[in-house]
Symmetry: C2
Subunit: 116 residues, 2 copies
Amino acid sequence: MSMEPDLRVSVLEGRRTVYGDPEIRLLEAISQYGTLTDGAAALGLSYRCAWGKIKAVEAKLGQKLLESTVGGSGGGSSRLTDTAQRLVDQYSRFRVAVGDYAQREFERCFAEEEQP
Amino acid sequence: MSMEPDLRVSVLEGRRTVYGDPEIRLLEAISQYGTLTDGAAALGLSYRCAWGKIKAVEAKLGQKLLESTVGGSGGGSSRLTDTAQRLVDQYSRFRVAVGDYAQREFERCFAEEEQP
DNA sequence: CTACGATATGCTAGTGCTGGCATAACGCTA
DNA sequence: TAGCGTTATGCCAGCACTAGCATATCGTAG
């Protein structure tokens, strides 16, 4: 019976979630591949789903996350705005730090003398 | 636009959630009030809902969390088993530590020079 | 022996979010 | 001017989770 901690980290404004792991990973993938389509595919998401996530965050944030072009040689493209890039950088550092700390603390608090 | 971190902490076995904040808070309330009915009410939960949460954790854990009596002077009562008490103690320490750390780290990582 | 307050549990309606389907528009390229 | 790959978006079905309703049972007190 090996247990492990699970953290769902997100950022709130007021009491509603603005973004979390899924959105940040999506932004990273889009940045890497250059298109929403490929970024979504890399995470196993449909275009529709990924687009919905991005739009939802933009709406809550009141700022654009993607700079997109439609049509053209490659069909189109998307790159992160400065706002989005800063979000990814800040959140990633935060997320890793908390995850690492939680793992250590979990092992300390749940140190088992095991059932007698 | 003041943001704040939100942590959903839970404990997994394999890839399914065994328990988290809601279950632990419920156990604490039951311990405090002595009955499932009053513990649930204190958290604004229906008896049915609270009972379901407890049973779900017991099933996943394969261990009883409540020592209950039915009928009698007060109608009945529930108290935590040693297993449940240990769970509450371990998880609470863990949860507070991670929450505090996350708060500090959030402020550090998201330190804003604010939009120019 | 009746009333009360609690545990115990199945069934199901409501509810909110997720994501799929369909469709349109766009701009290069051949 | 036809084709391709991408962005853009409305609509709605499905699914998971919540919690209310209904009911049964139990043990003490009066």
